[in-house]
């Protein structure tokens, strides 16, 4: 048996857990660990400029690869700076392991320098957390942390390590467990057969069905299975903000996104449905609108790995607790066995109805004559320029919704945004985490001049590690979504939603050693996109694109209404 120090054990265990990159920032309580990092090359460390960005990078990595992202930060402020990143991952069920340093065990509780109760601070936003009490338990805790983070409904796990657990001269027997078992944690492996059978019977009888697919499909890696079921049944499929790409956005059976800024046809289909199959979605308030008016005629089947997601906001008729992929497979098998198909006439007339809804709004927007672009056309141009095949990350606000609406994601794991928590400052570091692991793919961060400034310092990290992401900044000089709500609900009083004294983003990008391109009008955009993607393929490019500040995101559900109550433009309501 090999003898290793706590610091060496930690780094070795991370390697055995399959870690390629650690995103982090050193500090006093982690110096022994950072020395251990220095002495090896199997696990690479990426030094960020702010710990929040480390968490978002790890998160972006996890969303694109499906593997847990790893963050390493020192005690006190290092740890607390990750809190927003941890909460972001928690809300969107993203696997993440956060190693936080801690002061020496004998100083814990003394208000020592850079001491924070990280387990206490992070408790409501983690799936689980550990504190290391004996150095020899480090490998086991690492293995447990990765197991918990990545199984069941994934989520972040914090490991808090007091400095004296990593002393270089104190060595212990190292052994990494081959298998992890926790008596109190057994994520479901399959759905209940009786329930699945009931669900299939309901689906076969449906006359106005909708499949409502969410991020759980992507997390489970089951997009192919979902696609097979949708196509087999010939049912319409709408996706949540987190689920975009789990069914091809350009597919005929796709209704696009549903909910607050969903398409007219998706929200109409949901409201009028007689059977809804919810797959890995959680009936979020941004989807349902008023719960008491939600889909009045629908029988609801809900597949989710987390029992607490079921009947939390909306009571469902057939709950199925289990991994999405396994349940979908069983459904397909039952359909094969039964040899039945849904009522073809009913489904055909349902499609006829849906196809009548489609042209009502059809994601129309009016272009300006003066060349000042609408944000929508920028996204459409970017979609074309990247052949619809880029990894797109976003921050939060209007630009996020425009990206979700106008970039048609045909593949899962390509759309990476903070859907649940709505974290501004997420997009850029997340894009970095993606790009490092997919160097040959276009990775575009769609952002705004508000959001990008929340983590803009990471341009420095990008230069150090050569991370050529493309930043597409839809610059309308205002916090667009706040401004939209102020227009709609506060008689246009733009309280603090106008950004004065914006930096010269082009000069800023250049100061950081990158390429900046300003785009002021429509005719400049195609060339700018081509330069960013082709000419400067291996450089970070900051595209500062002026867009119309007056534009609103539509459709938009009317507050407290049902799914079908929507504004379709500034003047048109359903």
């Amino acid at each position: 048996m090999e003898l290793l120090s706590g610091g060496d054990m930690l780094v070795r265990a991370l390697h055995e857990a399959g870690v390629e990159y650690i995103y982090g920032y050193p500090g006093g309580s982690l110096l022994h660990v950072y020395d251990a990092v220095y002495k090896q090359s199997a696990v690479k460390h990426v030094l960020v400029r702010h710990e929040q960005a480390a968490a978002h990078m790890a998160d972006g990595y996890a969303r694109a690869t499906g593997k847990p992202g790893v963050v390493m930060v020192t005690s006190g402020p290092g740890a607390t700076n990750t809190v927003t990143g941890i909460a972001t991952a928690f809300t969107d069920s993203i696997p993440m392991v956060v190693i936080s340093g801690q002061v020496m065990s004998h100083l814990v509780g003394d208000d020592a320098f850079q001491e924070t109760d990280m387990l206490g601070v992070s408790r409501p936003i983690v799936k689980h957390s550990f504190s290391v009490r004996r150095p020899e338990e480090i490998p086991e805790l690492v293995a447990k942390a990765f197991y918990i983070a990545s199984t069941g409904r994934p989520g972040p796990v914090v490991i808090d390590i007091p400095k004296d657990m990593t002393m270089p001269n104190e060595r212990y027997e190292y052994s990494y467990p081959k298998k992890v078992k926790l008596r109190s944690y057994t994520p479901p492996q399959r759905g209940h057969s009786g329930q699945i059978k009931k669900a299939v019977e309901l689906l076969l009888k449906a006359k106005r069905p909708v499949i409502y697919a969410g991020g759980g499909v992507i997390i489970d890696g089951s997009s192919d299975k979902l696609r097979a079921l949708v196509d087999r049944l010939d049912f319409p499929c709408t996706q949540t903000l987190m689920g975009l790409g789990c069914y091809p956005g350009t597919g005929d059976r796709s209704l696009g996104m549903l909910g607050m800024h969903g398409t007219y046809e998706a929200n109409m289909a949901m409201h009028n449905a007689d059977v809804i199959l919810a797959v890995g979605a959680r009936f979020d308030d941004r989807v349902t609108n008023a719960t008491n008016k939600f889909c009045p005629d629908a029988k609801i089947v809900h597949i989710d790995i987390d029992p607490s997601s079921i009947s939390k906001t909306i009571m469902v008729d057939v709950p199925i607790v289990g991994p999405v992929g396994n349940v979908l497979e069983e459904m397909m098998a039952l359909l094969d066995e039964a040899g039945e198909t849904p009522d073809a006439d009913a489904i055909a007339s349902w499609w006829k109805q849906i196809n009548e809804w489609r042209p009502r709004h059809a994601m129309r927007y009016e272009k300006n004559d003066n060349g000042l672009m609408k944000p929508q056309e920028v996204i459409e141009a970017m979609w074309k320029a990247t052949n619809g095949d880029a990894f797109v990350t976003s921050d939060v606000g209007q630009h996020q919704m425009f990206a979700a609406q106008y970039y048609k994601f045909d593949k899962p794991n390509r759309w990476i945004n903070s859907g649940g928590l709505g974290t501004m400052g997420f997009g850029f570091p997340a894009a970095m985490g993606v790009k490092m692991n997919f160097p040959d793919h276009d990775v575009v961060c769609v952002t705004g001049e508000g959001s990008i400034q929340m983590n803009i310092q990471e341009m420095s990290t990008c230069l150090q590690y050569g991370i050529p992401v493309k930043i597409l900044c839809l610059n309308n000089g205002s916090l667009g979504m706040v401004r939209q709500w102020q227009d709609m609900n506060y008689e246009g009083r733009h309280s603090n939603s106008y950004m004065e004294s914006l930096p010269d983003f082009v000069a800023l990008a250049e100061a950081y050693g990158h390429v900046g391109i300003q785009v002021k009008s429509r005719d400049e955009l195609p060339q700018a996109l081509e330069d960013a993607l082709v000419k400067y393929k291996d450089r970070l490019v900051f595209l500062d694109v002026a867009v119309d500040p007056e534009e609103h995101v539509y459709p938009m559900q009317v507050p407290m209404g049902s799914m079908r109550d929507m504004w379709l433009s500034k003047t048109e309501r359903t």
Binding site: P124, K127, R183, D306, S311
Partner: protein, 163 residues
């Protein structure tokens, strides 16, 4: 409706704070809470009472079950069960009241566990409503101090909560 939720919890530092934190975080109410080790030193038994409709209680039990340190959980109020609470109550006892209070304590099968010239300290066990009935019988004006353990409970019959 009032529910008694009984939990087998990993006997580890921080486990209790996760349970309590969950209630605060999700806006659930804890009425009573009691926790102590079991015969298996790796496990604690935690009993709490809370109020809510069926849907709320279902969410509470599901959320509790998600905590990694919650090994097993039962809502005792769903079946036949026994519940007990222990109360130590200090009451004014002077003159003629002394005999009256002693009689009342006897009726409720309480024990006087400490005596001073003007004060009795009485120990009483039973279900919550019995303890409340006792306080009412004594009269709140007489009560100097009450200390209650919160509800402990166990299922009737063969049913056990164990791993």
């Amino acid at each position: 409706m009032r529910h008694i939720i009984s939990i087998l919890l990993e006997n580890e530092p921080g486990a209790l704070s996760r349970v309590v934190g969950l209630f605060a975080q999700r806006g659930y109410n804890i009425e009573t809470l009691t926790v102590a080790p079991t015969e298996d030193e790796t496990l604690s038994r935690l009993t709490m009472t809370t109020h809510g409709d069926d849907r709320k209680i279902e969410q509470i039990t599901k959320q509790l079950n998600k905590l990694i340190e919650v090994v097993k959980l039962v809502d005792l109020s769903e079946g036949q069960h026994i519940e007990r609470e222990l109360m130590l109550i200090k009451v004014k006892a002077v003159g003629a009241q002394r005999a009256e209070i002693k009689r009342t304590a006897d009726i409720f099968r309480g024990q006087i566990v400490d005596v001073s010239p003007s004060v009795y300290t009485i120990q009483l066990t039973g279900a919550t409503d019995k303890l409340e009935a006792f306080i009412e019988a004594i009269g709140t004006a007489q009560v100097l101090e009450t200390v209650r353990t919160g509800v402990s409970g166990i299922s009737r019959g063969e049913k056990v909560l164990s791993i």
